[in-house]
Symmetry: C2
Subunit: 164 residues, 2 copies
């Protein structure tokens, strides 16, 4: 199986009309409000989702131009393998964010802490349930080159490097 065809289940609406100037991770997007406009035919799949405080969004980074195996990420001056970064310029341009679920009104899901550009096509919603994996994490989580850099994600904004 090589080619896999997926479909957009809806659109993520945010205040960011272009990547330039956007927060680069949820930690830099605290309090930023957005909405998911789910296609009507999927609304039945939202049953009981309103009992969760946080959801995982899997989406398609539709503005990314091409891909690269080594990239210089926003938070470092050195190139790294793309799989060791959260750069959008990946072999498959899939993005992943855990956001806060505020409320659901029909096919509109109100969210906050959202770090994607307006109009991003959504692929999936999963409930955030840390109990399903946290006990498998070691106490010593190693985060490679992020170790001296992750604090930059609080304030650093995106530029156009991955969409031009």
């Amino acid at each position: 199986m090589n080619k896999i065809e997926l479909t957009s289940i809806g659109i993520i609406k945010t205040p960011f009309n272009k990547p330039q100037g956007m927060p680069i991770q949820p930690t830099g997007a605290k309090g930023i409000k957005g909405e998911i406009h789910l296609k009507d035919k999927y609304v039945e799949g939202l049953k009981d989702l309103d009992e969760f405080s946080h959801i995982i969004l899997i989406y398609y980074l539709h503005l990314t131009k091409g891909n690269a195996l080594q990239v210089k990420p926003f938070m470092d001056n050195k190139p790294h393998g793309v799989f060791a970064t959260r750069s959008p310029k990946r072999p498959n341009n899939i993005g992943l964010s855990t956001v806060k679920l505020e409320s659901i009104d029909g096919n509109i899901i109100h969210i906050s802490n959202i770090d994607v550009v307006d109009g991003t096509p959504l692929l999936d919603i999963k409930p955030y349930v840390p109990q399903l994996f946290e006990d498998t994490l070691d106490n010593d989580i190693k985060i490679g080159w992020f170790d001296n850099n992750y604090n930059k994600a609080k304030n650093q904004k995106a530029d156009g490097r991955f969409v031009e």
Copy 2:
């Protein structure tokens, strides 16, 4: 944008040759060893990944038959909206697991705590960096119907309900 074409970047090899009897989440797969066989052309993208202890795998649930908007998950007797579950029978059959990275040898990535069936096509690898989102989580994480059920994921095994 409705149809989105992605490509398998490699295969996840595990001891589970069919869904029936498999662990249903990483918490039930502690110590289970697996390998990612990355396509050779993507190996350059692994640079510096070996400095991370845990990685996030995004993969295609290729054995799932069809999809359903309401499902009865392994851990409960009541149906829930599919987006409020981790059921594989989703509009896009995308799966997500955080696993331990043991070592990398060329295009082979040795992992543990893996809860997928042998031969699962891989779509993406991202480094697990909790610092990028954990400060946006409330202290009070609500996990809906999982609240009384998540412990079942430690021992419960999958049956064939989503592949038959």
